[in-house]
Amino acid sequence: MRARDFLLRLVFIAALLSVWEALVRALDVPAYLLPTPSAIGMALVRGVTSGLYEEHIGITITETLLGFAVGTFGGLLLGTAVALSRRFDYFMYPIIVMFQAMPKVALAPLIIVWFGLGITSKVVNSGLVCFFPLMINTIVGLRSAEEDRVSLMRSLAASPLQIFWMLRVPNALPYIFAGLEIAMIFSLIGAIVGEFVGAEAGLGMLIQSMNFTMDVAGQFSVLLILSVIGLILNGVVSVIRRRALFWDPSSRQGASRVRLPAAQQQDAL
């Protein structure tokens, strides 16, 4: 049954591509507007075999992963500080709300000015974009420990530090991992947007230069690569999450379920 469904899926996609190919040819749509799937495939093969894509892929992935690391570290750190300290929360709250509402990608031009055309500006941009979902989820997660569980720990004469490490942190992990999954995709977006605004290399820069030369088939092939990169990065985080959170009902059910606080973040990229 499952194998048949999978096969049906493939057939459906193949049919869709055939219709696309046929329509573009029949209606004689110019290649600079919409290329045929076969032209996109050829552009992909050309780009990969010539080694052109290789370098750009490496740079974009490096930016994304570094940005993810920086943003994640910052989000965890600041989220923990806000969750633990009422005073810190009080002073930080208005700033957080303001930044949360602001589209972070709008900062990209400024960041290019500050950090230059090299890889640093992209790392900063990507880190900034993925920082918020993680911080918000860390705050919510650390604060979500059930009252009963806190009472139990207190009844055992546990210190606040023990309550933090033995209860609050594991309790926050499902939220933090949900944040990580979103942050992973966000950091790729942040890197690409940074490259759009100004870069010497990377897949975002490649898309723009192809745009200038009206190589639309090439752009489609890069988009294809980007979505594969996104799928792989997200898949890696998902697998780690399922391993680490085997005890969490929403993780055990397989498909990733994005938790509310992070989902709300999606529109404030």
Binding site: D148, L152, M153, R154, S155, L156, A157, Q162, W247
Partner: protein
């Protein structure tokens, strides 16, 4: 006279004197507990019975050191309870197990918190798990267990660090009636084997009479102890004891005193 006095107090595990608790500000507050006075002997199983809202859970939280009293004092082996203590084990109404810890890990939580050394207490944990009929389940996770089994794990967790006092806050209240009776039989067996001092809280009169050496009857608004009733039924008590005349007489007497104060609405 003096000698007798010390002899008496040394046999007391718990002494509660003029204990009171008020919630809320001056004037507008609520008196949850008023002038509570009782003692529990070493190894005694005392059950506090009363309707919901009579303050029995508040009493337990004060004894567990989770809540400060407003007046009076509570002593455990002569020392006042001023905060959470390592020599008290608590079983709550829900099992409160951590899903990221397996059965053994949950049972070992007090050992980890109090740094008693897992290796030293491993044998004891296996012993206790066997005592509650969970041998073979050490490496299972809470979500794989039934409600009754989860509460057994909670009981082992409360016993693992060998506390001087076991506080149980309606521990079987969330279980179905059959499981609840089975758990009562089991608790009696464990208590007879280990002779822990237990303060057990319930709103079920039958459960109170079945389990208790002594029943403290509590009434609400403000929470007071109305009656202290020694239950003279031979142990071990089987479930059939509930059908005896003596059992019925105890139940009726408790019901009458609760009714007299409007405790049972």
């Amino acid at each position: 006279m003096d000698g007798m006095e010390t002899a008496l107090t040394s046999r007391e595990a718990i002494a509660v004197r003029h204990l009171s608790k008020r919630f809320g500000g001056a004037g507008g507050g609520v008196t949850a507990l008023s002038d509570i006075d009782f003692a529990i002997g070493e190894g005694e199983l005392v059950v506090v019975v009363g309707p919901s809202g009579c303050g029995k859970s508040t009493l337990l939280r004060i004894l567990a050191g989770l809540l400060p009293q407003s007046g009076g004092e509570a002593l455990l082996h002569g020392t006042p309870i001023t905060g959470p203590r390592r020599d008290i084990g608590v079983v709550f109404q829900s099992p409160v197990l951590f899903p990221w810890r397996n059965v053994l890990g949950n049972a070992m939580l007090p050992v980890d918190v109090q740094r008693l050394g897992r290796e030293k207490l491993r044998a004891r944990a296996f012993d206790l798990l066997k005592l509650v009929g969970l041998d073979g389940f050490e490496h299972r996770y809470p979500w794989e267990l039934s409600g009754g089994m989860q509460q057994r794990v909670a009981l082992v967790r409360a016993l693992i660090h060998d506390p001087a006092l076991l506080l149980m806050d309606e521990p079987f209240g969330a279980l179905d009636a059959m499981t609840r009776e089975a758990m009562n039989v089991e608790l009696q067996r464990i208590w007879m084997e280990r002779r822990k001092t237990i303060l057990f809280i319930t709103h079920s009169i039958g459960e109170a009479v079945y389990l208790a050496d002594r029943v403290l009857v509590m009434t609400p608004r403000p929470g007071r102890i109305l009656d202290s009733l020694k239950i003279d039924l031979p142990r071990p008590r089987g479930l059939e004891v509930m059908n005896t005349e003596a059992f019925g007489a105890y139940v009726r007497r408790i019901r009458v005193s609760l009714n007299a104060t409007g405790g049972l609405d």
